[in-house]
């Protein structure tokens, strides 16, 4: 049974290899091949999941060693998989949502001549993501980590003919690279501290290490997580990443890849638990990003960018929860799973809207679509209710738990975190309601495209709506299912551990507070956008609005602090290299050349003159020899 584990990765990898190398012969059915590979992997995941259910908690984690990968004396890294409750959760999420989005893409990308390659990239992403969550050591995890980065790069820049897409792809990869530096250094630190980079090895020895070492490792892991999960200060790439096709945004930049940071922190819980300062840093990052993303989400008129802000914010929740330690790990993962469903559903809905509106992304040009696109409206609406935490839907259970956990942190810290998460919930309700109203309600604000064609919104084909419906079901029921009888808690507890903490407020109070915040947010949004017509051109807005529209000036900051000095430095070095180093050498050569051109006059070309100098030289030599002998 364990031999199925490598097949989980191998199926999409083989699909990717076939699709990318196969050539035009596969153009006709390549998309189905890709979908099949994803589905196959999902089936394997299910088989493994059920076989795991049949074992007792202690025997559930299994390992499958394939081959020795990098064997160098003290440094041993293997291609070896570990499947436990945590990773199987991810496997099911990735392959399940992945398969649905493959299916959706069959319709969405139907008119793209490079559809086969798109599916190849999607399969490549699945393989890398599965490798990431299945690795039993950090180095192999790193492979998956960068592999998803590559897939993300390829998919964001899928429409390479658009310079904006190519730039966004490059930016995403670069910012992720900064995070990767963190992961590299973390692995190096582990190696120097423990001589080992496997999960078991490192976690087993973690309690012997000093706190400063663990804090260093933890902070570096956090840097990695920030990069991949678009957390402050490495968040700037996610908004631009929306240049990619919408299924990509749904799968990679909402449901799976961006949550890898949460996985990393949860997986490395054994380190963070012993490094409270690192945990504090994690919590701070989560809290800041939570608000940051939410604010950005409020200001964006581009539907995908608004959803991207929302993703950032929701992952902030998860990171925050993961930073709380054993109090929050389970809820971080739970929110991750439910978020995977509803956010993917929301993105697919957004994609469906764009599909119907001739790729228009500006919400101010939508309006009144609920009649024309009923399925999209309903599924999107269910996702909306789930994300704002409407009671009974998925988001309600998971987000509520995180807010409880934040309070349960205890002390001032707990109050601050609780307040932040509550504010976050309110803002979430606000911007999601705004998206809802702008898109589906109100009057039509459709604009003709560049050639003057009026859009004719229509419902999307079945290949697209089916995944949306399935995901809507997930958005509705997943949370309840997981929360029911604390089944998810019991499932994950052996891996992540759990403690209740001591909340100053009872869970009922927290729930009520959350409800109140949510209602306030919805109400405010309705007051602003629902009661009066929405202007087609955005009003100037306050300073905060303008800043938020520019992603709270994050790009301006990066540009001023990193990009411009960097390119100036590179230009200066180019000058230094040619004029300084090379100039020095060339100057030396010129000096020697000058001297020799003077000396050259001695060489008059007359052979007798040369003979004379040779003879003179012999004379000197003989004289010297004789003198030396006589001395």
């Amino acid at each position: 049974m364990n031999s199925l584990i490598p097949l989980l990765v191998a199926a999409p990898l083989a699909g990717a290899a076939l699709l990318l190398l196969g050539g035009r012969a596969l153009d006709r059915f390549g998309h189905w091949l890709g979908t099949f590979a994803a589905a196959l992997s999902f089936v394997f995941g299910l088989v493994l999941f059920f076989s795991m259910l049949g074992r007792s908690a202690a025997q559930r984690p299994v390992q499958e060693h394939l081959f020795s990968w990098v064997p160098v004396n003290g440094f041993q890294a293997d291609v070896s998989f570990q499947l436990d409750q945590l990773s199987v959760t991810f496997v099911l999420l990735i392959t399940g949502v992945g398969t649905l989005i493959h299916l959706y893409s069959v319709g969405y990308m139907a008119h793209d001549e490079r559809r086969r390659r798109f599916f190849g990239y999607l399969n490549l992403f699945l393989a890398a993501m599965l490798l990431l969550v299945l690795a039993d050591n950090y180095l192999l995890l790193y492979v998956g980590w960068e592999g998803v980065g590559l897939a993300s790069y390829l998919l964001i820049g899928f429409w390479q003919h658009k310079p904006s897409a190519a730039t966004a792809a490059k930016k995403a990869f670069l910012v992720n690279r900064v995070g990767d530096v963190g992961l590299s250094i973390a692995i190096m630190l582990m190696f120097t501290d423990f001589g080992n980079v496997t999960f078991n090895g490192v976690f087993g020895a973690a309690d012997q290490a000093s706190k400063s070492q663990l804090t260093a490792i933890g902070l570096m892991l956090l840097l990695a997580a920030c990069g991949k999960s678009a957390q402050v200060p490495l968040q700037s790439w996610l908004g631009d990443a929306m240049e990619g096709p919408t299924p990509v945004s749904a799968l990679i930049h909402a449901a799976t890849m961006v949550t890898a940071g949460v996985y990393l922190i949860t997986r490395s819980g054994a380190i963070f638990n012993l490094a409270p300062q690192a945990q504090t840093a994690v919590v701070c990052v989560g809290a800041v990003t939570l608000l940051f993303g939410a604010i950005v989400g409020c200001a964006k008129d581009d539907i995908k960018k608004a959803l991207a802000g929302s993703t950032m914010s929701q992952i902030g929740y998860m990171i925050l929860a993961a930073g709380l330690g054993p109090i929050g790990y389970v809820f971080a993962i739970m929110h991750l799973v439910t978020h995977g469903f509803f956010k993917a559903g929301l993105f697919l809905g957004a994609g469906s809207v764009m599909h119907g509106m001739d790729d228009e992304v500006n919400m101010r040009h939508y309006g009144g679509l609920r009649k024309l696109m009923p399925i999209t409206f309903v599924t999107f609406g269910l996702g909306y209710l789930a994300i704002i935490g409407f009671p009974g839907l998925s988001g309600f259970f998971s987000k509520d738990k995180i807010i409880e956990a934040a309070f349960a942190k205890g002390g001032t810290e707990g109050w601050i975190l609780g307040a932040v998460t509550l504010i976050g919930a309110a803002v979430t309700a606000f911007y999601m309601t705004r998206v809802m109203i702008l898109t589906f309600f109100g009057e039509k604000r459709w604009q003709p495209d560049a050639e003057g064609h009026q859009p004719h919104p229509h419902e999307s084909p079945a290949t697209m709506t089916t995944p949306m419906i399935v995901l809507a079901f997930g958005s509705v029921f997943a949370g309840g299912l997981l929360a029911f009888n604390s089944s998810f808690l019991k499932w994950l507890e052996p891996i992540t551990g759990h403690s209740e903490g001591n909340s100053p407020l009872s869970s009922t109070v927290v729930t009520l507070l959350t409800m109140a915040c949510m209602l306030a947010g919805v109400g405010l949004a309705y007051a602003v956008y629902g009661r009066s017509p929405v202007p087609v051109t955005p009003p100037v807005g306050s300073v905060l609005t303008r800043a938020a529209r520019r992603d709270l000036l994050q790009d301006d900051f990066n540009h001023a602090v990193l990009v411009r000095p960097g390119s100036a430095l590179a230009a200066a070095l180019v000058y230094f290299d040619s004029k300084g180093l090379d100039g020095f050498v060339n100057g030396l050569a010129a000096t020697i050349g000058g001297i020799s051109s003077r000396l050259r006059r001695v060489q008059n070309g007359y052979v007798r003159s040369y003979a004379l100098s040779m003879f003179g030289g012999t004379l000197v030599l003989v004289a010297t020899t004789l003198l030396m002998r006589s001395v």
Partner: protein, 543 residues
């Protein structure tokens, strides 16, 4: 005593003579004969190298398949060959790359129309171009292989220097002739610069070689034999005064650092790589330069252990400057080939850093790095060469949107770029990470600074890809042909190797590790022990 190693270097040498002696290439058929002959010779060399590597037993003595023939007896110089794990992988690299380079340069040495429209096939020089080019490549291969196999310091020196001669002619004689007199002037400047830098390094090394011999002779060890010298040093029979040892070390190291090249001795490389054909550039950066880093590992560390340790921190600082500096300059380049050259300088910084970190991870990583850099840069550079030959310009600004018209070319170019930025799963990642880990475990600060090189690597590789391959299709690019069968045959093995060695580098590490351990024991260094070692068998053994 087997003759395998001698055969491995004699075959390309004889092939060079044979190729040069073939009838002049005034017709296409004759040129084809020349090229096929050269290709066959290089294939035979590859087979011999593979046989030698297969015969090499990783668990056995450090040097195996040894051969020794007396050469200049009065100075204890002999023609001694022997292969260790490090040499074996590098010989294999050379033997693999040369046929690929030949295939990639198939038409680079054809008589081409001069700028004024006349064909130069009528002149003697024009008619012998093809023979000359392929014979020179084979000559370089033979000399490089001898350098990798030599276990005699003097023998090594001779071939280390001699390979400059064919390289000089390859750089100066064969470039893009459409460029007119200005390009020819640049090319000759590059060739002379290459020659002068390396000759200077070689001369300093010659002085050190003689100095070493004199010191050894004074203590009754009048030999140039590497194994005798190293064992004498290890046994204390040969004691070199610290000052003298440092001077000798610097003499050797200077030559290798020029060849490698190490910052700030690198400025010849961008010129040489920029002006020569893509195939020659591959020979420079992937084969010839490796002799420099290889020799640091074998000669500097083996012969001067104490001085190596003394200078290691300074060299590490230079190499880390090289990593960052090379990457930053690569970002600032406007010329594709120069960009790749600066990227190589950055990579050489990694290799040298791995060597002088003096940990088994660092040195194994550095050795793997030499191989992986050779393969991946060859792929990147050759595809860039194909691209340049289509458009006739090396400027990045002249390209754009190639991906649209030539997707396979763009795809392989991307893989080359990704390999250069050390994407995990591709070969360079393994080596780069080992180098970083090895350095970090002894010099954490340097390791961390070097790690930031990977961000810059992503920057220059992706910026190059973005500017040339993506975006709207530019005028000069429209109608550009995708890779042809011959070009695919060049790129495919390189890409396959890049991926294979990234996933399964064990065959190489098995070869390299024993030699690295031996080198480390020569310098009396052991890996720093982990602060809190994990009990039980290390890594991945759990059931």
């Amino acid at each position: 005593m087997s003759y395998l190693l001698t055969a491995t270097c004699a075959v390309p040498a004889a092939g060079a003579v044979l190729t040069a002696a073939l009838p002049a290439g005034s017709t296409e058929a004759r040129r084809r004969t020349t090229k096929l002959t050269a290709l066959t010779v290089s294939a035979v060399t590859l087979a011999l190298a593979a046989l030698a590597a297969a015969r090499f037993k990783p668990g056995g003595a450090r040097y195996q398949l040894t051969e020794s023939y007396s050469w200049i007896r009065s100075f204890g110089i002999s023609f001694s060959l022997g292969v260790d794990g490090i040499g074996a992988v590098l010989v294999l690299l050379t033997a693999v790359l040369v046929p690929i380079v030949m295939l990639a340069s198939w038409h680079d040495a054809d008589p081409a129309p001069a700028p004024d429209g006349t064909s130069d096939s009528a002149t003697f020089e024009g008619r012998r171009r093809t023979q000359g080019f392929f014979a020179l490549i084979l000559a370089v291969e033979a000399m490089v292989i001898v350098s990798f196999l030599a276990t005699d310091v003097f023998l090594f020196y001779v071939f280390f220097e001699a390979m400059l001669i064919p390289m000089y002619f390859l750089i100066g004689g064969f470039g893009d002739r459409a460029g007119g007199p200005e390009a020819a002037r640049q090319r000759s400047y590059a060739a002379v610069k290459f020659l002068l830098y390396n000759l200077l390094g070689g001369l300093v090394m010659l002085a050190a070689v003689i100095g070493l011999y004199v010191i050894a002779q004074q203590q009754g060890q009048a030999t140039f034999d590497l194994q005798s010298l190293t064992s004498a040093i290890a046994d204390g029979k040969l004691v070199i005064d610290p000052t003298a040892e440092r001077a000798l070390f610097l003499g050797f190291f200077f030559a290798f650092a020029v060849k490698a090249p190490l910052w700030p001795l690198h400025t010849w490389l961008p010129n040489a790589m920029g002006e020569s054909t893509a195939g020659t550039a591959v020979l420079i950066t992937a084969v010839v330069d490796k002799v420099g880093t290889f020799a640091m590992l074998r000669f500097c560390l083996g012969l001067f252990p104490d001085a190596s340790k003394f200078f290691a921190p300074a060299i590490l600082v230079l190499s880390v400057i090289g990593i960052i500096y090379g990457a930053l300059l690569a970002v600032g380049q406007k010329d594709i080939k120069r960009l790749i050259a600066y990227a190589s300088i950055s990579h050489f910084g990694f290799i040298i850093m791995g060597i002088f970190a003096m940990t088994s991870q660092g040195q194994s990583g550095a050795t793997l790095y030499m191989v992986n850099h050779g393969i991946s840069t060859a792929a990147w550079l050759l595809v860039a060469g194909f691209l340049i030959s289509r458009r006739g310009s090396r400027l990045i600004a002249d390209y754009g949107g190639v991906q649209k018209v030539a997707p396979v070319l763009a795809g392989t170019f991307l893989i080359g770029g990704l390999a250069t930025l050390s994407l995990p799963g591709l070969a360079p990642f393994v080596s780069e990470f080992l180098v970083l880990v090895g350095t970090f475990s002894r010099y954490p600060v340097i390791g961390v600074i070097a790690t930031f090189g990977i961000v810059l690597a992503a920057l220059y590789a992706l910026v190059l890809y973005q500017r040339t391959m993506t975006g709207p299709v530019r005028d000069g690019v429209r109608g550009m042909a995708d890779l042809k069968v011959r070009e695919l045959a060049v790129v495919t093995p390189l890409v396959a190797l890049t991926i294979f060695l990234g996933v399964y580098p064990k065959p190489l590490t098995d070869l390299v590790n024993p030699a690295v351990n031996d080198t480390l024991s020569q310098v009396h260094r052991t890996d720093p022990a982990p602060a809190h070692p994990v009990a039980g068998p290390a890594g991945g053994e759990q059931k």
